[in-house]
Point group: C2
Chain length 249, copies 2
């Protein structure tokens, strides 16, 4: 199976890249084209401040990927970066739906990854050595990442229609922690017997946020909250979702 590879330049340095070998290439200018800069600067020029430039570039990448995804043209997304690059790319990749392959080979995979991954299924591959040229270590690390990404994209395209019937079952998200486990398990068993799919989340910060993401993406249609540690009283979020049930007890 072959997929088309498009290379997108999200660099914010002073040097612009014009092309990358034989690959289809989206230059920085093209990526920023839908975002005219402030009137006093030339169009499409990034802000001088590096932090602001990263934010602008990250938003541009996010919009680009979301459009490609909605158009059905996106099979997955893979990036490469140090701490700045990981931050820029991860913020765009996190917004893609769960299951769509998203990978960053990163110098900051071994450390505090929550700011990059959040509650998403973004995968950080440790670069082990600096992201700077090909050497005996980066070659095996990048080869592994490329092979893994190709495997994910291939696997996903191969099974794309196999599980579509699953979407017909209503999915109930449940929160749980130690003391509520027996109760949640009993409820879960009953729901499964009645034909619902259930997703259990530990009532920790990440578990709660993961549930909220899945609600937003439409994976969860009903949420049963009996482990109130997780409830952040974001009922507004749920009420905005159509046909969404929200039960405390």
């Amino acid at each position: 199976m072959q997929v088309q590879v498009v290379v997108v330049d999200v660099s914010v340095g002073s040097k612009e890249i014009e092309s990358v070998g034989d690959f289809e290439f989206v230059s920085r200018k093209d990526l920023l084209a839908p975002y005219p800069g402030p009137a006093e600067t030339t169009q499409n020029v990034l802000p001088d401040d590096r932090g602001q430039a990263i934010a602008v570039m990250s938003r541009a990448l996010k919009n680009f990927l979301e459009k490609a995804q909605v158009d059905g043209a996106l099979a997955g997304s893979v990036g490469l970066g140090g701490s700045g690059g990981t931050s820029l790319i991860s913020s765009a990749l996190r917004s893609l739906p769960i299951g769509l392959p998203k990978v960053i080979v990163s110098t900051v995979a071994s450390g505090q990854t929550e700011p990059y991954i959040g509650s998403s299924d973004l995968i950080l591959f440790p670069s082990v050595v600096d992201v700077c040229g090909i050497n005996s270590v980066s070659r095996v690390v990048l080869s592994n990442a490329g092979a893994a990404f190709a495997g994910m994209v291939n696997g996903r395209l191969g099974r794309s229609n196999v599980y579509s019937s699953d979407n017909e079952r209503l999915t109930v998200g449940l929160t749980m922690f130690g003391v509520t486990t027996p109760c949640v398990n009993a409820v879960k068993e009953r729901l499964v017997k009645e034909g619902y799919e259930t997703l259990v989340f530990h009532a920790t910060g990440t578990g709660g946020k993961a549930m909220e993401s899945l609600v937003r993406e439409g994976h969860i249609q009903v949420s049963l909250q009996n482990s109130l540690g997780v409830v952040q009283f974001r009922i507004d979020l749920y009420l905005l979702s159509h046909d969404f049930g929200f039960v405390f007890w």
Copy 2:
């Protein structure tokens, strides 16, 4: 390409698993067989203390994998776990050489991963939901992880002989931070011109540890340390390595 899959039970709970479908299976008993318990307990029984049991199991897994790797029977290793399982499995997987595919689908991929990954190329896949049965989310997450792992193993076996000639070049590890960058770059350029391969490491905790791992694994034969932040005066380590050069300047 097909590889043989062997399922290894590393659980430490009270319930022992006897088999897993049609897969070749290494039971807990078999894994622990080379480690007879203390004389007063029955052979192969895990300690009652969960922490101790995890440590015993992790060591048994590590020895099992290292033996399989030395025997040339290990194409990669993939695990699945919560925080306890990730800790148990990662400690064994970290000891495998760089480049050998090592993956854990984990509930703790989004957070502080340094205790699990260290300076290795272990990849943590965020499980997003709890590791507990198959549902609409875990299905795509586990499918992606399986496909990625298969891709890595396939890719690695496919290219196994392509880069072997690279090993003939001597590899020099250099440490660098901000103020030493111009110097390190100049040295690096000269070394490359002379036919050496160079690996640059940021003089941070992780960079230094990564270099030390690569020294231990034989990827680096000479280390140039001009960014002393990283030097932990572990010269004993280097002196133990045969033919190892170590230069301060």
